[in-house]
Symmetry: C2
Subunit: 532 residues, 2 copies
């Protein structure tokens, strides 16, 4: 459906132009061989021409042919999200359970037509935004007879911008760059930059409660949603644009995080803001992760609301090449469209230093331009590049993945200790060793949102099963130690065991009851969040 | 159930000690006679000894006798909330439909026992906090056979304070002053001060999505809730304490605003904060409400997050005795436990003046102590005293009431014009005239929360019917012009017509389906929010 030169890669993060070369794959295998003291041979990614899919079990008929495709590229390309096992299977060209058809509706009427068509034939429907799910949120259920994936990318416009109220009506299939491109001429920005920004959509962010740019105060997309419009098998669900309301339980808050089981989000009004003109950034080094964490607790409890307030433990700081010598790194940033931020940065740095930190770098309006990139800029670059970097780490048995959570401060130290211990133990048992590191992506007055990265060496070919064992240990440890199964990666199918333990049982039953109202047959994305 | 000297008045806001004297009632009637050019005779409030109730239709039996009462004081005192028609009926001693029994459980086990007892006998249960509802949220349904009101005031403790995470576990029946009293020794505060603060409870705030002290950023109690525990007829619903989560739709957000139909909230963990040490306040005068409104839009869109950012239109400013001469008033306040706020106040005042304002008063750490009370302090005092003041305005036919909403900025001017016109027209038709005024209680980047006050003279004895006509006009105008039926007063029974128009129909059906999970017989507070 898209130009060859720019179309999405069948397996790598990004477009086909982002696929690593053979030389790059070789170099990566060599580097990892050195790191793990092993002899790793680079793999070869599957090509589209090698992929042979099960025949489609659906004949779309007249209603859908104008905007649906059963081509191998479309079906294979919508088989997975971008989790570790997804990446491994895509690299291998392993697509045993693709959707039978991919619909690309261009209007809300075509979304409704797709739902109607599927509903009258008992066909499962998977709403699909950018396909960046890392929790099995978009894969066809193994036990489904017939599956249509409903790709929203045809609804990618920003039809209304309300400069006075600083809000915009954005279609669900709009990707991050398109949203920013539409807002920029008005001096506005949504400033929602999840790591998946380039290849994820507004509808996906809302359906999965994505977290974005802001490390404090308003972190999740939830805080920016003014109203939502959703098409369901039993009708349209649309809330009123309101800056705030106390009228009953929030309808939008039931849609946010519903991961496709309540309907297909077609558009939302979201709060946008003036583009920042004043910026301050700083990096502070600490002798331990613990003291850096304490600094963020103090800053966020003082309600200084920095835009950036992220902590890298010594392993992360070193692995990202931003700092060495066993130091933890605190990255602080303040920004505003209206008022200089130097005084706020000074207040935060006073607390950061008072907690044992040493200012490494400072940039902004007061201290002059950034000059050569410092640790905070290097970290930001590494953050955005990470999924691309990982493209080259496939094919030779390396397990590398992340998981994330949030936990209250009173539990944090013990939480971190027990989660690291559990994952390290699993890595020893499964991979004969590996590494675990942590950073804070977001910080709240009552607790941090820690984000763990782990890696280890598996038998090539055995990665997925071995990953499952480590992931299960991580999930169990996170939930047992009082965290949430996800701060912003969503639940999908992969986090069900943790989620089922975490949410109130009666809430799960209430959610299932609510679902039966809008999807009486349980055809929408079955298997995520709750049993149908 | 409480000491005579401190017990709640049967009709007035506050305790029996707060009931106005005969002289006070006489003086108020004289003042209103002058204002309206009428000859108004003061009324006489009903005394408990005059009240004769329908016999209770319930024999509580052994399970409830230890903590339930069918005494006239208890039953009459739980017949109403504190809306205008409630106040009129209480003043008159008009209690045709009291609950049959009032249960005062002292433990969660007794809450469960009450629910079990009622459930096995098909008796309606009304969860009751402080009884400050102004929307008919706690009155027994007219068509119910038997009603038990479940008064949570026996669960009034603050059992846990987590100083590290700045959070506290608070029982649902804890009143505002008790909460602050428990937190103060730890240097902490919830800082949730609705006008009803003295006579409303944490559970009531959560159930009705109360809005409090903060005029910007975190306004509703929703933002402060970390987890909720609720007893339902089918079991306990309890969420996990988390600083943030993206795991499915938020369970707490379905409880918040549920107004008793999903269960009885017994306790919640809420986010608290260090008591402020640095404070700045200022008042700014404007030649029009419109220019003051524009100033708040600019300040809140700049994300300066003042604690106070309220606007009084010229009528309100004059009526509250804080300013005269047709000026609108902007009241600004900044506060912090950690850092001086003078610079932030200067930033806000620069914008306020740039929007055409003139600084009338400034107080705080930079400009010295407050000295004699200025407009902002006088306004705050008037705000807290308002419900007491209104005690003396009963009995001679005066209709005085408020309604509140929120609306996006793009609609605000036209909204204000059409709502005032509709209410003024209704006042002319029903009362041959009256007054309407407005203030902003909270302000968001995408719109204000306007709060209207209206008054007019009715025939004594005809107040309630005449009020209903004006209220209906206001409700219709608010919803037609794009506002919400309530920003923080809740829906109850009185706002159903507006609410039914506002919320997505499918959401209402989803909420009813969720309710059937926890309350299959529909016995919990039937009639609020949705039909059973």
């Amino acid at each position: 459906m898209s130009q060859k030169a720019h179309r999405r890669s069948l397996w790598a993060w990004g477009t086909e132009a982002d696929e690593p070369s053979t030389a790059r794959l070789k170099a990566a295998a060599a580097a990892m061989s050195k790191r793990f003291g092993a002899s790793l041979a680079p793999g070869t990614p599957a090509r589209l021409s090698d992929v042979s899919l099960r025949a489609s079990r659906i004949r779309p008929g007249r209603a859908l042919t104008a905007f649906a495709s059963a081509a191998t590229y479309d079906r294979a390309g919508h088989s997975y999200g971008h989790s570790f096992p997804d990446r491994v299977r895509k690299f291998r060209g392993d697509f045993p359970n693709p959707p039978d058809l991919v619909a690309y509706p261009r209007t809300e009427a075509e979304v409704s037509a797709t739902l109607d068509w599927c509903y009258s034939r008992d066909v499962v429907v998977i709403p699909y935004g950018g396909g960046s799910s890392v929790v099995g949120g978009v894969e066809p259920p193994a036990d489904a007879d017939r599956v249509v994936t409903l790709d929203l990318s045809g609804l990618g416009a920003v039809p209304d911008i309300d400069v006075t109220s600083r809000a915009a009506r954005i279609q669900a299939g709009a990707f991050g760059p398109a949203i920013e491109g539409a807002l920029r001429p008005h001096g506005l920005t949504l400033r929602h930059f999840p790591q998946s920004f380039e290849f994820s959509t507004l509808g996906g962010w809302v359906a999965t409660r994505s977290a974005g740019h802001y490390a404090t105060n308003h972190t999740h997309i939830d805080d920016f949603v003014e109203s939502v419009r959703m098409v369901t098998p039993t009708g349209v669900w649309e809330s009123r644009r309101l800056p705030g309301s106390g009228a009953g339980p929030s309808p939008d808050r039931l849609v946010m995080g519903s991961e496709g089981i309540l309907g297909v989000i077609t558009e939302a009004w979201v709060r946008v803001q003036a583009r920042p003109r004043f910026r301050e950034s700083a990096s502070v080094g600490y002798s331990s992760f613990e003291s850096a964490a304490e600094a963020t607790r103090r800053i966020v409890q003082a309600k200084l609301w920095p835009a950036n307030c992220r902590v890298l433990d010594p392993e992360e700081a070193e692995a990202n090449g931003v700092l060495g010598g066993g130091q933890a790194l605190l990255v602080l940033g303040f920004e505003s469209a209206e008022v200089p931020q130097a005084a706020r940065m000074r207040e935060a740095l006073d607390m950061a230093v008072d907690s044992g930190g040493k200012v490494i770098e400072r940039a902004g309006d007061e201290s002059g331009g950034a000059g050569s990139p410092g640790p905070s800029e290097r970290w930001r670059t590494a953050f955005i590049r990470m999924p691309y970097e990982w493209n080259a780490l496939l094919g030779f048995g390396l397990i590398n993945d992340t998981f994330e959570t949030a936990v209250t401060w009173d539990r944090w130290s013990e939480f971190d200790r027990s989660v690291r211990a559990a994952v390290e133990r699993a890595l020893v048992e499964v991979c004969a060793g590996g590494s675990v590191s942590c950073r804070f992506t977001h910080v709240y007055p009552d607790g941090p949102a820690p984000y763990y990265t782990f890696s280890g060496l598996a038998r090539a070919g055995g990665e997925i099963q071995m990953w499952r064992e480590i992931k299960a240990a991580a999930t169990e440890a996170v939930v047992a130690a009082g965290g949430t199964i996800t701060h912003h990666h969503a639940v999908g199918r992969d986090h069900r065991s943790g989620y089922d333990h975490e949410r109130p049982q009666l809430f799960a039953e209430a959610l299932r009851a609510a679902r039966r109202v809008v999807d009486p047959k349980g055809l929408l994305n079955p298997g995520v969040l709750v049993d149908p």
